[in-house]
């Protein structure tokens, strides 16, 4: 018999005989959840217990057989308490890991609040509108910093280099600049 629990949103496998196994209370039959494994909806022989915790999912643990931590993770998603798909994959490419974690944490925190107040549909809608709208500015900031600045620097130095070598072109630029200055002063 394997045992699993949620710790900070992640499924962990427990070793038998942990002292907090007896902590909490048994749920009644009517309180069990329907869990989806792959395509099949099942009500598995899962006994659920709950520890005292401010988060409705934190502290739940499961005992049973015929499933693993990964399928339980899928099941937790179907229990409608966490965002459908994590948006962090969108941001990890553009942001430093710690900042990305903080941003995803903010998204999840607000998601849970909206879920509690307005239900899953509105929470999902808010989460994904924020995730999609956030990707643009983050990707643009990354592009400006990581791509545009070096490209502009290289192109600028190349133009200056070519200008200095071409005296005829340099004369034209000088004339245009002088004319522009004259107009500005005038």
């Amino acid at each position: 018999m394997r045992q699993y629990s949620l710790l900070w949103g992640h499924i962990i496998e427990l070793n038998p005989g942990l002292h907090w196994r007896t902590f909490g209370h048994n749920l009644g039959e009517s309180e069990s959840v329907v869990v989806q494994f792959g395509r099949d909806w099942l009500t598995p022989t899962v006994k659920m217990r709950r520890q005292l915790s401010p988060d409705p999912l934190e502290g739940w643990f499961f005992t049973g057989s015929g499933f693993n931590a990964k399928s339980l993770e899928t099941a937790i998603r179907f229990s409608q308490k966490v965002p459908p798909v994590k948006a962090e994959y969108l941001f990890y490419f553009f942001l430093e890991a710690k900042t990305c974690d903080a941003l995803v944490g903010d998204l999840e925190e607000r998601y849970k609040l909206i879920l509690k107040k307005f239900g899953k549909f509105k929470a999902d809608l808010w989460y994904w509108s924020q995730a999609i709208r956030s990707t643009g500015p983050i990707a643009w900031a990354w592009f400006k910093k990581g791509v545009m600045k070096p490209v502009v620097t290289v192109m600028g130095s190349k133009i200056v280099h070519d200008l200095l070598k071409n005296t005829h072109l340099l004369e034209i630029v000088k004339t245009v600049l002088a004319e522009w200055l004259k107009r500005m002063r005038g």
Partner: protein, 108 residues
């Protein structure tokens, strides 16, 4: 001070950080920005973060990470605090806005 000009999103973000004080982290700053913008401007969480990063590079805010908490799936919060130069920049921007308001005789 010359050179302390802020864009409107920077102004909103810095004001939010200033108003929130010790409670200023990404999520709370984003909520405060939405509250201050009163629906006139939609700002995503990502925009708030990129603006905060820009402000940090300019030396107007400083940041640090909290310990991870279970409520956030084991993730830390990124807290921000306004610096003296940040406060000066906000005040200068508000002064300019005030001057414009005075010149046009206030708004309804």
């Amino acid at each position: 001070m010359k050179g302390d000009y802020l864009g409107d999103l920077e102004q909103l973000t810095l004001t939010a950080v200033m108003l929130l004080g010790r409670e200023a982290y990404g999520g709370s700053i984003h909520e405060k920005i939405e509250e201050l913008a009163e629906g006139f401007r939609a700002v995503s969480l990502g925009s708030a973060y990129t603006t905060l990063e820009r402000l940090e590079q300019k030396g107007y805010v400083k940041s640090w990470f909290s310990d991870p908490t279970p409520e956030r799936g084991g993730r830390a919060k990124k807290y921000f605090e306004i610096t003296a130069s940040g406060e000066a920049a906000v005040k200068n921007s508000l002064k300019v806005a005030n001057n414009m308001l005075r010149e046009i005789g206030g708004v309804a």
